[in-house]
Point group: C2
Chain length 219, copies 2
């Protein structure tokens, strides 16, 4: 409004730092309590700020949760896209190793909260749509990774690339899930990743010698 | 007690029928409300019986849930063990087709309730132990199926059978999960099962022609 005093300026850097603080507090609360049981009251208390100070940035816990999950998917996405300038199979291997590290630590991350949000809210179209978009972005990145290898002639997939990418997503989902409920050692997560890697190689580069042998030498 | 009147005899067949009725009522309630939100009150109402008539058979909702889940795992188990007298790869194929049918209908079964029970209760050792035993039974059946094919000389696995069996379990878990949250068509469940089948064949019978081709002819 003309003539009105301008509000004191808060720099964008400062705002980002505050947002990050609140997000991190929310992440700790979600990990501790799960999605349904967590409340904005918990998050405000955890952040050490005032109610107003938090609501200025985030209207509700779902907004906070979606931003946190968005970060997780963005990292997965970047991991799948980080293959530029790298040989296609090296890029796939790097992506798989990143996912192995994530899956081994899944119980300490946001994956359990995400699974709770999805399973409990599976009848809510809005939730599914919001998560679906993030999920599709990762799927798209994996598909591009496989496709670029096929276009370069390194991969000669025996099955359409889209089906392979979907299968990799299911696989990862299952391994994250089992790692959370049974623990990464009990399900022998390392072994499973070697099997995944070997199977994937067999459909992407059929006829080439397997990297995983009965003696168990990876790569 | 000597001399006391014996209770009126209820035949075992009749008892089994009552148990089954109560279990089916519990199944409907769990599917409708999920695990945490369901109560014995709901189950009693759904069964059309008296409180006493239900508690005579089941002490709490967890007992009912575990018996229902036990049935599901028993069916998976039987499907993996139904291969006697069948060629090993046929038996694997039959098991995979059974699981495909289950996964396509996962949202209407007890899988979502099981996932909720596991994710929400992942810190409760007792829950994990109870489900872990049932899970291990299915895993064991898959492992035996693969091992018997290896002993017969039909399978020449390039990777230890135990690691392959664990990987199949993760895969199935992921596909059930994605089928529930995204729907079987959206994740192209049929295609994924073809990929799983093809990958599995490649590690069990390396060097043999693939059953799934770019043209998409299964088996």
């Amino acid at each position: 409004m003309k003539g009105a005093h301008p509000l004191p300026k808060v720099s964008e850097t400062r705002k980002d730092a505050v947002r990050n603080d609140i997000l991190e507090a929310a992440g700790r609360v979600f990990k501790r309590k799960g999605y349904e049981a967590a409340s904005m009251k918990d998050i405000v208390a955890e952040s050490g700020r005032s109610f107003g100070g938090v609501y200025l940035y985030y209207a509700n816990k779902e907004q906070l949760f979606l931003e946190l999950i968005g970060r997780v998917y963005r990292e997965m996405n970047e991991s799948a896209e980080g293959g530029e300038g790298t040989a296609p199979w090296e890029a796939v291997g790097r992506f798989l190793r990143d996912q192995l590290a994530r899956a081994a630590d899944a119980d300490n991350g946001l994956a359990p909260v995400l699974y709770e949000y999805l399973i409990v809210g599976r009848k809510e179209e809005r939730r599914m749509k919001l998560i679906g978009e993030r999920h599709d972005a990762v799927f798209g990145a994996i598909e591009r990774l496989l496709r670029s290898g096929a276009e370069a002639g390194t991969f000669r997939p025996t099955i359409p690339v889209e089906a392979i990418a979907l299968t990799v997503m299911s696989f990862l989902d299952g391994m994250f899930f089992e790692s959370i409920v049974s623990g990464p050692e009990r399900i022998r997560l390392d072994d499973q990743f070697r099997v995944l890697s070997d199977m994937l190689r067999s459909v992407l580069m059929p006829g080439e010698a397997s990297a995983v042998t009965e003696e168990g030498n990876p790569e």
